[in-house]
Symmetry: C2
Subunit: 211 residues, 2 copies
């Protein structure tokens, strides 16, 4: 059953994910490795799950090779989808403008995949899930578009917007988990992790102290 | 038509409303007066609209008595409703605990009323609206409840929670305007204000520069 001390690692550099997971009780470390974020899938659910998995695998393998004993590695990927198109982070302001013009006046989906690698005393487990939320934009007027692009909020975010700040001038509706749109479906993660910890550590109440 | 300089006043002390309205281009001042926040209405829409109106009226009357020329006073009130019960801010931790236990595992409504008093060169206008969003809580476990109450996030917020922070560990779903749950329906306000400014100032493009 291990020593009851599980190293919790977030394999993501996103300050928004760090903040969300910071609301949990469990202390965690951040570790990221440069891996190609690629998927051959055109299905958005598989696409982001592939990427979340590969991000987490790299960190998990490295920590396991360093003989870390009990490990819980969480990785995640967020994408924005409208119709068949998958939107990642825009390369520059022009691309951000293009993305936002395409999303203007419409409802799109935000998918966040979460993947967990767990290791404890010779037992290796994984689980993953994808949460979908829908977001509706008002028609973005030229004045509001310029003002939003000027804030620089677009550049490091899938779909060229972050839901927490100035984009709220044109976001009229969310349907689903709000934290999922920010970049990590926190309440579902708590529930899923609880289910798995109950299986993995039936005699311990460590999972009770995580959240 | 006035001098084109309209004093924009937010009649609310809420730091969350200040932050949301800060995403607009227009500079604004904050002014609040102590008025009894009362309504005889049991209908949640009328209830919060009454309170928003009375908050704004006090500030508007004071500024008008000081001969402010062109004025745009925005006031607002947010309430949480489940069934027939209207939840305001809890008095203390025990009441916060009671509110959250009642909301746990259920979907409730958040109503935010916005009321505008406008004055320019002898013309006086008002408008108001109420936006409803729905929020679903997971069942809040005792551990998560204690942890959330410990953060102190409950105390100055209708329904004993703020959606921006640690409550995201148990909030599973939002349906509607997210900013409305924070405390001000920003995207609808932009649209409503635009409609009214077009009527009030047909020959000016001042409203274009507001947002």
């Amino acid at each position: 059953m291990g020593n009851g001390k599980i190293k919790f690692v977030l394999a993501s550099a996103s300050p928004r994910r760090k903040e969300l997971i910071g609301h949990l009780k469990v202390p965690f470390e951040i570790m990221t490795l440069n891996v190609p974020e690629e998927s051959t899938s055109t299905n958005p659910i598989n696409f982001c799950l592939d990427i979340a998995k590969v991000k987490g695998e790299a960190v998990y393998s490295k920590l396991r090779s360093e003989k870390s004993e009990a490990l819980f590695v969480v990785s995640s990927d967020t994408i924005v989808c409208l119709g068949e198109k998958i939107y990642g982070k825009p390369k520059n302001r022009d691309e951000a403008h293009t993305y936002l013009m395409e999303l203007s006046g419409k409802t799109h989906s935000v998918f966040t995949a979460v993947f967990v690698h767990y290791y404890n005393s010779g037992i290796e487990e994984t689980f993953g899930f994808v949460e979908e939320s829908k977001v509706t934009f008002n028609t973005i007027t030229p004045a509001i578009m310029e003002r939003y692009l000027d804030t620089g909020d677009s550049l490091d975010k899938a779909g060229a917007y972050g839901i927490q700040g100035p984009s709220l001038t044109f976001i009229s509706r969310v349907e689903g988990d709000y934290a999922n749109v920010v970049g990590f479906p926190l309440s579902r993660f708590v529930m899923e992790a609880e289910i798995h910890f109950k299986k993995w550590l039936p005699e311990e109440d460590l999972w009770l102290n995580l959240f």
